[in-house]
């Protein structure tokens, strides 16, 4: 496509972070009235690309052009002023405001005799709403709207405020099937208005059905551009490729080891089909699937955070139904949660505090008295830090000042000096750099080699392939495959995880 007709064109982008080259010549262009799909594995460079388009990063090399004219964005505000709207799946809305107020938030209100002119505001939103999302109750507080309706409000806000290029980042990840269909109808109507749309998603069937064209990136560069009839899920998986790294170090045979955790017919609100599997001592079982496929919900049930709706869990042949995380800890389960800043770290407290907290009662100065022995804690921290190869200045340093990888190692170190019957890891290498990633994978293998049963929940295919002695694939709240190390292939994993959402009932 000639660049001059593109609403937005990114050409030859290069972006380096430390030792990592996130983008290595990637390009993308989207025309008015076109839906462009953008796919690639985690780490392929999609989010860096989006951030450059949004003005959050400046590229080291390469150009950004709008309607054929080269521009540069010094800040997200510049990109916004140019009409670029990035919609994240959970971009915040003001819950108590209705759609009209949410759409006008941050814009100059129309005035009438000095007063805010609600009528003009409402009319301007109602016109657009009628066009792209008929039936959306724009006068109702968004707190009362469904997830799909909230997603419409985000679209509405982007379109109503002169958005010319919409970049949608995993917009359907949290939507059930029938709502996703309505969402795509809205997208097609927006396309019909002449808006350029970039659709970024892991759900390849949706990318294939909605996109006019698809750009596939891998390792920071374009590997394919498909259009029309060429777009298909199988073809996309093949192009995303990346079979490298699948050859993982072989692990000890665990077939003869005793079963530690046995899950029988377990269901939770997110895990709708009964899940049954067992984990042996020393075995790493990877739970692979897209966001919202039910794998995190399973971990939460084992950790006592979520109540199963049916089924049974057995820990070393004893029924095990923890009511809270404390009971899970006491039963010998250990957990490294996803999103460590929100759920794991005590950023302003020191490293020793962060390390010893979950098992604090094992550091008593006098048996029976709940008085922690600081010296013992410190010594134990130093030993654990060495085991996980954590880099830090001193034990008194606050946890928030560590790098992402070292923060994650800090959370791992909590459980480093006890035998865990089961170790639960949720997205263990999320948001850490390449070096730390491989270090953390080594730690995980060492934990398993010590005879702990390990469950790794991940949306990173390479990680599932590298770590899992077995891989369970989750899709739409069900386990759809259970493969041993020798049966699993990259393409097979991707195909199994891709949601074929049931058609709207």
């Amino acid at each position: 496509m000639p660049l001059s007709s593109a609403a937005l064109a990114l050409t030859g982008l290069v972006k380096q972070f430390g030792a990592t080259r996130a983008l290595n010549g990637a390009s993308l262009s989207v025309a008015p009235g076109e839906i462009l799909g953008l796919v690639g594995h985690n780490g392929a460079g999609k989010s860096t690309l989006i951030k450059i388009a949004a003005g959050a990063y400046t590229p080291d090399q390469g150009t950004i052009s709008l309607d054929g004219a080269v521009v540069s964005f010094a800040s997200p505000a510049d990109a916004y002023a140019a009409g670029i709207r990035v919609i994240h799946q959970d971009a915040p809305l003001v819950p108590a405001f209705d759609s009209i107020d949410n759409c006008w938030l941050g814009r100059a209100y129309p005035r009438r005799m000095g007063m805010i002119d609600r009528r003009t505001m409402r009319r301007s939103i109602a016109v657009v709403a009628e066009e792209i999302a008929p039936g959306l109750p724009i006068d109702r507080p968004v707190a009362a709207l469904s997830p799909a309706e909230k997603q419409f409000v985000r679209l509405l806000r982007a379109v109503a405020d002169a958005g010319r290029v919409l970049i949608l980042d995993e917009p359907t990840a949290a939507l059930p099937a029938e709502d996703a269909d309505r969402f795509f109808e809205a997208l097609r109507r927006i396309r019909a208005r002449g808006t350029a749309i970039v659709f970024v998603s892991h759900r390849l069937d949706e990318v294939a059905s909605i996109s006019d064209r698809v750009v596939v990136i891998r390792d920071g560069a374009n590997v394919a551009e498909l259009a029309g009839a060429d777009i298909g899920v199988g073809r996309l998986i093949a192009e995303m490729g990346g079979d490298n790294g699948a050859a993982a170090a072989g692990s000890a045979m665990t077939a003869g080891a005793p079963v530690v955790l046995d899950i029988v017919g377990l269901t939770t609100p997110m895990l709708k089909s009964p899940a049954s599997f067992s984990v042996r001592a020393g075995e790493i079982v990877a739970l692979y699937g897209l966001l919202g496929s039910g794998r995190s919900s399973l971990l939460n049930a084992i950790w006592g955070e979520e109540k199963p709706t049916a089924g049974e869990m057995r820990l070393e042949d004893t029924p095990f139904h923890p009511r809270n995380a404390g009971e899970a800890v006491a039963a010998g389960i250990s957990y490294v949660p996803a999103d460590r800043h929100r759920t794991g770290l005590f950023a302003e407290f020191d490293l020793v505090f962060n390390k010893t907290l979950p098992l604090l009662s094992s550091y008593r100065r006098f048996a029976g008295l709940p008085l922690p022995d600081r010296k013992a804690e410190r010594a134990d921290f130093l030993a654990a830090a060495e085991r996980v190869a954590m880099a830090f200045h001193g034990p008194g340093q606050s946890a928030g000042t560590l790098s992402g990888g070292n923060q994650q190692k800090l959370i791992f170190s909590r459980w480093a000096n006890r035998h865990s019957r089961v170790m639960l890891l949720d997205e263990p290498t999320e948001g850490v750099d390449v070096m730390a990633k491989s270090a953390i994978k080594q730690i995980i293998r060492a934990i398993a080699a010590d005879g702990n049963a390990v469950l790794v929940s991940t949306s990173d295919r390479e990680e599932a392939l590298e770590l899992g002695d077995r891989v369970l694939v989750f899709r739409d709240g069900a386990i759809v495959a259970d493969w041993g190390r020798h049966e699993v292939t990259p393409a097979g994993l991707s195909a199994a995880a891709q949601a074929k959402r049931a058609p709207a009932a």
Binding site: W303, E305, N324, A325, G326, A328, V329, A330, Y335, P337, R342, T343, G344, L345, F346, A347, E348, F349, F353, L357, P358, L360, S361, P370, L371, P372, S398, R414
Partner: protein, 309 residues
Amino acid sequence: MRHHLGRFGTLIAFVLLCAVFTAAAPSAFASQANFFNLLQQLATLSIVATAATLVMTISEFDLSVGYAASLAAVICFAMFGAGYDAWLAVPVALFACILGGVANGVLVAVYGVPSFVATLALGTVLSGVAFGLSHGGTLFQNVPPGFTSLGRGNFLGLPVLAFWIVAVLGIASFVLSQTEFGRRLRAIGGNALAARLAGLPVVRDVIATFAIAGGLSGLAGLLLSARLGSVQPTMGEPLLLPAYAAVFIGTTASSTGSPSVAGTLLGVAITGVLANGMTIIGVDPFVQKIVTGAIIIVAVLVRRLGRRQ
């Protein structure tokens, strides 16, 4: 550097304050009589401020502390009036305040009511009970001398109340800094979700914290009533704002900006010395208020600017 300025600045400010008042009124301010007087006046406030410190450690607020103090005193004196002994009246009064604290804790930890709202509402209820029991008036009859001696007179050459300050603040400081419970409270205040996911009994600990805060407020109310020898149903209310002012000033003296008992004690001392000194050198009461408010703002601002580094 500015970090340390913030941290030790609070202590330096206190020393300067004392120096200024000593220079301005050497005989009246820097006298033993005035020092004892200050200790007695500040005992009640320091205990209520300690209750506030505990609750702020878990990043919540308890606005019922003043009302609980009033209620404890009223229950106790109403029971004296009805002929009951202090051995019964004091435990009943404290128990009522602890129960109020448990109710606060349940509302916050189990039902997720914002602590601001829960404790203000519950405090209003407690206040209503105090008014009902006292019929809105002053109670002063049948007070056993053994009870008033809890808050009056000297022991080993120091006011009795000074020992209460040492005991209560000492225990609270020990619990917060040296015990597993204290560690858990700081974790909950730092990141409640992470604390729960690390397996900590967050609900139980939050309820316990509010219960302790209720009990301490009740104790403060009893000591105040013992010192004064009479109670009114509104006597504890003026403690609320100075207590939180003291905690806020105290946070400026900690490296992490989190509340601590030692910091709170410093906060109580600063606000107390300020009020006492200004009264002695004859500053208008309205000017005193302006100065006190301004000093709190400056203390917190210094802290903020220091932390931004």
